[in-house]
Amino acid sequence: MSLLWLRFALGCYFVGLVYAFVALTRTSDLFSRIALHAATIGMVFHFVSLTELFLSGQIAWASVHNSESLLAFLSMVFFMVIYAIYQTTSPGVVVFPVVFFLTFVAALDEQPVLLTQFVSHKGWLIAHIMLIFTGYAALLVSFGASLLYLLQERRLKAKKSTSLIAFLPALEVIDQIGYRSLLLGFPFMTLGLITGSVVAITAPSIGRVDFLDPKILLSVLMWAVYMVMVFTRWNSGWRGRRAAFLATFAFVAALAAWAANYFSAMHRFGIS
């Protein structure tokens, strides 16, 4: 059933995806309202789908597809929080396509979940997944904001009053969105990594932890880049091109850490 709800959600997010492409070329108040409503309905379906998974008793989120679904949902939550604070749907330009992609992959098929060896650490595991994915979602939003910042900066520098991408909020608002999500995401990411390590070290079935595992290396790299971003921002107020460069780097590192699931021994959650 959860897959069905997810597919409904996917349909709604598709509207958001279309909005993202349209918004790049022209501004339409009506369309951004439609996209917002569709996204809200999508989130309801999505929430139902995730709840069903949770209630299924197993640590179902710990499959690659289901965790993608969770990440997509958390990103949408971020998007909505930003909308509530800043009354802007423009981060959707970046968030919607990513959310659509994640949900699409997650909605492809159901993966068997066989994480029996972690049952004794269920609480830690859930905490790890929730924390790290909140961190990912924050990073995604921050990355999106830094791209929008670049766009808006270009536009202001070009000094032409075109209606193209006129939907963008003020430069400092975009900057704030990016910086705040970055700050917010950092503790989540850090705690997520810590809880992950706790699970890994204490899980009886794993035994020795290979610290040269690509998943661990990439996660540490991503965290390091994340920290550099927060530091440069805090220390010298890096923004614009340099910040976007760093954010892209962190985002790629995050993607790599994610992709490492497929070739690391660490997160082979019982793929048969």
Partner: protein, 438 residues
Amino acid sequence: MRYQLIGLNHKSAPLEVRERLAIPESRLPDTCRELTAYPGIEEGMVISTCNRVEIVTHTVNGHADLHGFLHDHFHLDASMLDAHLYEFREKDAVRHIFRVASSLDSMVVGEAQILGQVKEAYATARAVGAVRGQLDQLFSRAFAVAKRVRSETAVGTSSVSIASVAVELAKKIFGTLQGKKVFIIGAGKMSELAARHLMAHGCASIFVANRTYDRAIGLAQKFDGQAIKFEDLYSTCDRADIVITSTGAPHAIFRREHGEQFLARRKNRPMFFIDIAVPRDVSPEMGKLDGIFAYDIDDLQQAVSSHVADRRKEAERAEAIIASEVERFQARQQTLDVVPTIVSLQDHLETIRQAEIDRVRGRMGQLTPEQEMAVEALTRGIINKVMHTPITTLKTAAKESEATTVVDVVRRLFNLQVKPKEPPAESADKKAEVGTQQ
């Protein structure tokens, strides 16, 4: 009507060219004197604002070499300059001046500042004697037309000023202007206006720097702000988020290295420079820095161009007023052209009449008052009958713009003296009335 005008404006020439032609206020009187000393020019006036440089003249025969004057004066290459210049004569020159004064030719159509600038230019030229009868008439009328346009159309009221465009841009950068700090460099009306707008939208405090410290203090007091010594400009500037600069400095006062310093001290928080100075105060190199948003006067124009459509309708009505005013002015000018001839023709014949009566009176002896009146009536009657056709012809010719030819013929036929100077405006007006009554 031998008006001739040459110039360039924000539409015909880029800022780089205007910068090189801008004439500082202090040099204006000298330029006016030079202009009137130039061959073929009777009267001359120079309008130099950040958006235009125009030379308005009344010439001896309608063909003065104004290009030559510009080249000589600015020592500029003809090839560089000529592509940007426009030249108007007679009726077209009148229309152009009317449009400029009425702010229809302005970067921001309808802005009120240009009228004041033209009035100042006029006063300057008048003070050095470069503007006399002809340009006096033209500009008096231009000011009246501007007033009419302002009161009869909404061109002025809905004007989007540079100031409000600056506010709009600041909002695009900062979101809210609440608590933002403004720095005014170079006290001027324009920057004061922009600052006022920004304050109205929530900007918190204001700094003022000026070459003359006293003026900075004066302006700072107006805004309840803080006057900064010009020497401390670079060390304090980074405290402001928005900088409005309009100094008369011949070179950019903000260069790339200054921008880098500011950004370092501000931890890269963006800065918005509103550069309304010509030549520019902010070097283009500095504007390229990430985090520095510098808008010069041309950029601001682009930003306002989107608003132009709203006012197009009003501008059309204003153009109609201008067109009818140009016709009126031209007609009046041409009537004025024939009036001196009519007057001297009348004088000439009256002299003959008086002389003849005096000559005959001796032979006729004492006349009774009735006889005296009869002689008066008879002679006057003859003269009026004789004069009727020439005067009518002159007046018709005036309307059909053949005045010069007809005036020439009449003067030669009657051997009338050409007056060396045109009568001053007021007396010319009276004579015009006399002329039309007959």
